[in-house]
Amino acid sequence: MKKKFHIVLLCVLTLTFVLSACGSKSAESGNTAKPEGEFKEVNVEAPDVLGIKLTDLNGGGTLGGQYKGQKIVVATRTGDFADALKNAAKYFEQASGATVEIQSFPAGNDIEKIQLDLNTGHHFDAVLMPVANVHGYAEGGLIQDLQPYINSVASPNLDLEDFIPSLLKSYGLYKGRMVAFPYKPDSQLFFYRKDLFEDPEIQKQYKEKTGKDLVVPTSVEDFLSVAEFFTQKYNPDSPTKYGYSSMASKTNSRLVWQNRLAAYGGKDVDENFKPAFNNEAGLKAMQTMLDLKKFAPDEWLQLGWDEANALFASGEVAMMEQWPGLYSSIESDQSKVKGKVGFGVTPGGAPTMGGWAIAMTNTAKNPEATYKFLEYVTSKDGELLKINNTMDPTRTSNYNRPEVLASNPMYPALLDSLSAAQILVDPDVPFVSAKLNDIMENAIQGVLRGELDPQAALDEMEQSFIKEIKAVGLSL
């Protein structure tokens, strides 16, 4: 018996030794930070995009195949994000000599997976993720400051000022450090039935009813007035059943409030992570949300992405606030509003912003090559390589190209919205952003369902925000 025990003990110890020995491979082991390959002129050619010839696909002449033998692993979400990166990676590989592997994970599970690996596995050299997550990684020391690379190895064509300023500030900077480059911009847009707004008969009816001209609303007051006019419950002659719609199901409903919060001068949190919404701005935004409910579909609180878009595409809604992705539903063959929709900034002029940024992990095996990849996919020509994968440009110069503007009628409104946007859809509070979203959603749903009055909801949200933010040791 004793002999058997010793054999088992020996086996356990041997296994422990083997495991710990295997574990000695650390992220820092392969320190090949500097390029090892020979620099040579490389000519990279890609098919024209939107009729534009891409002339700067060799990193402003700084790549030169000198990263040969180095491998970069980039993590992101499956779908368009991964496809766009894979497409750009082909040309980067030709120009730099490096190998790029894009690893992607399904939406809804990607955040946990990437967080786990950043903390323990260290497989990834770069991550392309929503801004709130990227800033969380920055707070946790999991991604690198890009400034040293910008100072030493940047392409002469980097031109940071060319990024839309609000994007570079909101996406790229965290606590004054440049931790990421903007990759995919996102902003709530205002979609309206252009055909109805331009119909002289409807314009006349509106004038008779309200004494005002029917114009695309920019102020909240006009927004509510037009929404009422286009709601059959209040105007039986309305050509549409509902004046307004959006996604108001749980996980989406906070946007209806956020889209007005900044318009009234509020914010979710200030620069010290202190809640900045329990004030007149927050209350007025709540009231506007309740006013909009009167003109929204009866099933509004059940509308998620597919349902809300299908309803708008069915022609029953006059105006909608939604992410740019609605465009593909509007333009689909099944849509009854194809070619009939106009685009603008959400009424109030301060839309909520989403967005994705690309950053380098602090365990990147080949940091210089990784930086060059980040720079490459966000360069002026590089970001046109992703435009066909629904990744809209983040640089002003690309919105100024006539071919780009002509490719999507939404782009002028998107540029205006991105420039005007102030609040991020996921509060920019590291570690607890998702929890704060839940808190907002619970409170907003409570108000929309009539279970909470607006002030009580704001009080509850503020208390919960403070509790969660304090719990992770962020200053208040």
Partner: protein
Amino acid sequence: MKKHNAEKFALYLLLVLFVIAFLFPIYWAVTTSFKTAGQIMKVPPEFFPSSWTLQNYVEVFTKHQIGTYFINSLVVAVTTTLCGIIVGTFAGYGFSRFKFMGRTFWQYAIIVMRMVPGLVFIIPYYIIFQKIGILDTLFGLIIVYTTAALPLAIWLFMGFFDELPTEMFEAAKIDGCSEFGTYWRIALPLIVPGIVVAAILVFLAAYNEFSLSLVLIFTDRNKTLPLGISGMIQLQKDTPFGTLAAAGTIAFIPALILALTTQKYVQAGITAGAVKG
């Protein structure tokens, strides 16, 4: 007589309702996979497609690497099943046939492992696999799935072996059969229906598993079907119902083949280990 007919009618009605409830979603998924986007969103819906397209299948094979995912899933599920059956029958036979110290303790220790939610093991698996270099490999998945399947398999096989009369083993021994020979030539052939049932359960568990593969697999070349299919859904984009239905239909093929080929064993197998003699 009238009462008897009414009972029969009610029974058949109930059966028909159950059949519809079970088969209609499958019918809907299969027909959706052959519809265009316009047909899928049509109101009122088309219960039988007015025209058929293979576009969704073309897309899942060309754009989404469904072939790779399918092969990976089959490799993982088949190997897990084989390992589970081999180790499970050995262990089940051992527990059933031999009396040894701590036998009851180990039996319950095994089933307790089954009671712990699999997700609890994710982080330890991740760290161990990372250290021994089998993260992002099908081999790693097979180890995890086999480990997860073994408690159920062992207990099922214990039940099946317990059913066999002791006299049979004694007769085999008297005739000079070795212990392995008894296991291989006498016991195993008698519990084939049980093996089939256990194999189906283990296969489907491995074939459909998502959470562990999500954490342990990184690259497209090693992704399994649940992981690959879930990646087809994108937020802020219309759900691709057609391609999802096509992928689902392809994923459904092994389950269908299993159901059709093993049906005769299942009935016997389900009840075989239920009552001990």
